[in-house]
């Protein structure tokens, strides 16, 4: 940017002043760049995409330009919006159940090493077996489609919460544990006042991963369920559009899914920040 004025300033002028001014300018530039840069790069990418589609006359059933995607988004909105709501419902439902299940199991595991040793393998098995191979079975065993979808999304999402929270519950400071022991704290008090707060940053880290995974779980399960009609989600719309070679609508639905994922991540990041800003190293702002 300004290597020219920098060398111009660093002549006989008082050294500190120059350095301070340079620092202030760098901070100003950085403040703008943080917002401007991603926006500019995004705009450039979209422009490049549009240019490529027009210049090489790519047929819209292979790669639609961004104009066609936006067009599809607007035109198909009455159909995409309810589908988005269905997917969102399953995603958030799965996230809630994963949170309750993950934290609940972690607390249970933390109560006794024996329980943990006995049941942790099942959690691992559920995690490492791809949901896409279990899903067909689940839809056979579970009559309700919504419940089946929820179960699939839950299986994908709960493991990071479980494993992170278990780690967090076990990483409370040893001297603090001694202190609780010294004052005759009950098991419940130790959990409530020491182990759960100590586990909070770990849990929140797991929750942010689980947020993205529950969306993925919901989508994958919908693909497997593959039924249409009323109450079908975005994944089914994508599947349907692909059968009809309606590529712009596929792009529009994918765009919605990505945006949903980004919003979930942003909200969970905000929650994390609000809960940890007073005390945890990861959220504390440092001067300098």
């Amino acid at each position: 940017m300004s290597s020219a004025d920098l060398t111009g300033l660093s002549g006989p002028a008082p050294g500190l002043d120059v350095a301070e001014r340079r620092k202030a300018r760098r901070a100003r530039v950085e403040r703008w760049a943080r917002w401007l840069l991603p926006v500019v790069v995004m705009a450039a990418t979209i422009a490049l995409w549009q240019w490529y589609v027009v210049a090489y006359k790519v047929p819209h059933y292979i790669l639609p330009g961004p104009d066609r995607v936006v067009d599809a988004l607007v035109r198909d909105w009455p159909m995409l919006w309810p589908a988005l709501l269905v997917t969102l419902q399953i995603t958030l439902g799965a996230l809630v159940v994963a949170t309750i299940g993950g934290v609940g199991l972690a607390v249970l595991f933390a109560q006794s090493k024996w329980v943990e040793m006995s049941f942790f393998p099942y959690a691992v098995i559920l995690q490492v077996t791809p949901v896409i191979v279990i899903a067909p079975l689940i839809f056979i065993y579970v009559p309700s489609k919504i419940v089946g979808l929820l179960i699939c999304a839950w299986i994908v999402a709960f493991f990071p919460i479980l494993s992170n929270t278990t780690l967090g519950l076990n990483s409370a400071d040893h001297n603090l544990r001694n202190l609780f022991q010294l004052y005759g704290a009950t098991r419940w008090q130790t959990l409530r006042y020491l182990r759960l707060p100590a586990a909070l940053p770990y849990f929140l880290g797991g929750l942010r991963i689980a947020g993205g995974l529950s969306l993925i779980g919901a989508i994958v399960a919908e693909f497997v369920a593959g039924t249409g009609g009323v109450g079908s989600g975005l994944a089914f719309k994508i599947l349907e559009a692909s059968y009809r070679l309606n590529i712009p609508r596929m792009f529009a639905a994918i765009l919605l899914i990505s945006l949903t994922g980004i919003i979930i991540f942003a909200v969970l990041s905000l929650v994390t920040h609000l809960l940890l800003r007073n005390w945890h190293e990861s959220a504390v702002k440092r001067d300098g």
């Binding site: 001297n175 001694n178 010294l182 004052y183 005759g184 704290a185 006042y193 007073n278």
Partner: protein, 277 residues
């Protein structure tokens, strides 16, 4: 003799007068060995009289921290027993406070909540305990920081919070495990004076683990010198200097005499160790 190692270890300059009142806690023939076969303490007998300020002084590995943890009930002796003569048999609570080497505060809780913790664990609500917590904070000069979080405080202030937490239950016995070892000297001197002031006003008994000869002489009226491998008591010195002790004491002849005595006792244990190797 209120302290002796009965396995024939040198008694050194044992010069403490017999205490008339029954001890607040009495360690009788304590042996503690760990699973990796180290003997942290061998046949340790020690009576702590009510109102004493006792320093356990020794090199690292002499088991002084282990002794403190045993008294606190954080671990149990392999052999021997710990008796609390002033208490009814079966009383679970020993009315003691513990200050660790680190401040050991809950980072997620405010200063107030940290000091409130011991009372909360006894079922006292914030409203019911507010006065006591604020009193305790006031005593360490941190009443204005009740709503701060630990990370906002300096190392010395965190230690004060830790002390306030230990004294909020009004314990009879305060156990301190090298509490000021990680602090700079200026802060340490200041906290030394604070502890002495609190000890004089609150009618405490203090057991203070340290590896600093100067700190132990400045603070205590009794120094128990310990040796390592296996951990045992080698000397029991009385420091007969009047309280309140101030900076004046720190520069007096009396102080340096006692420091020399304690140093010699400590040195003897180290020499002995070298000979053994």
């Amino acid at each position: 003799m209120s302290a002796a190692s009965s396995d024939g270890a040198p008694r050194g300059m044992a010069s403490r007068p017999l205490s008339e009142t029954p001890p607040i806690v009495s360690l009788q023939g304590i042996t503690k060995s760990f699973s990796n076969a180290t003997v942290a303490l061998r046949n340790l007998s020690l009576d702590i009289g009510a109102g004493e300020f006792v320093s356990l002084l020794g090199p690292s590995g002499c088991g002084k921290s282990t002794a403190l943890r045993l008294i606190a009930g954080l671990s149990s002796p392999t052999n021997g027993r710990i008796v609390w003569p002033g208490e009814a048999p079966g009383q679970g609570d020993h009315e003691l406070g513990f200050v660790f080497q680190e401040p050991t505060l809950m980072p997620w809780a405010s200063v107030f909540a940290n000091v409130h913790l011991p009372l909360r664990l006894k079922g006292r609500s914030v409203a019911a305990a507010r006065d006591e917590v604020m009193d305790a904070l006031d005593m360490v000069g941190l009443a204005g920081f009740a709503d701060s979080y630990p990370r906002e405080l300096s190392g010395g202030m965190k230690m004060r919070v830790s002390i306030a937490r230990a004294l909020v239950t009004r314990p009879k016995l305060l156990l301190m495990d090298e509490p000021f070892a990680a602090l700079d000297e200026i802060t340490r001197f200041k906290l030394n004076n604070d502890i002495l002031r609190l000890w004089e006003t609150l009618d405490w008994t203090v057991i203070f683990v340290t590896h600093s000869v100067f700190e132990s002489v400045y603070l205590s009226n009794r120094i128990v010198v310990m040796a390592a491998r296996p951990g045992r008591v080698v000397a029991d010195l009385a420091v007969d200097a009047p309280y309140p002790r101030t900076e004046e004491f720190r520069t007096s002849h009396l102080y340096s005499d006692y420091c020399r005595q304690a140093s010699e006792a400590l040195q003897a244990t180290l020499n002995e160790e070298e000979r053994a190797e």
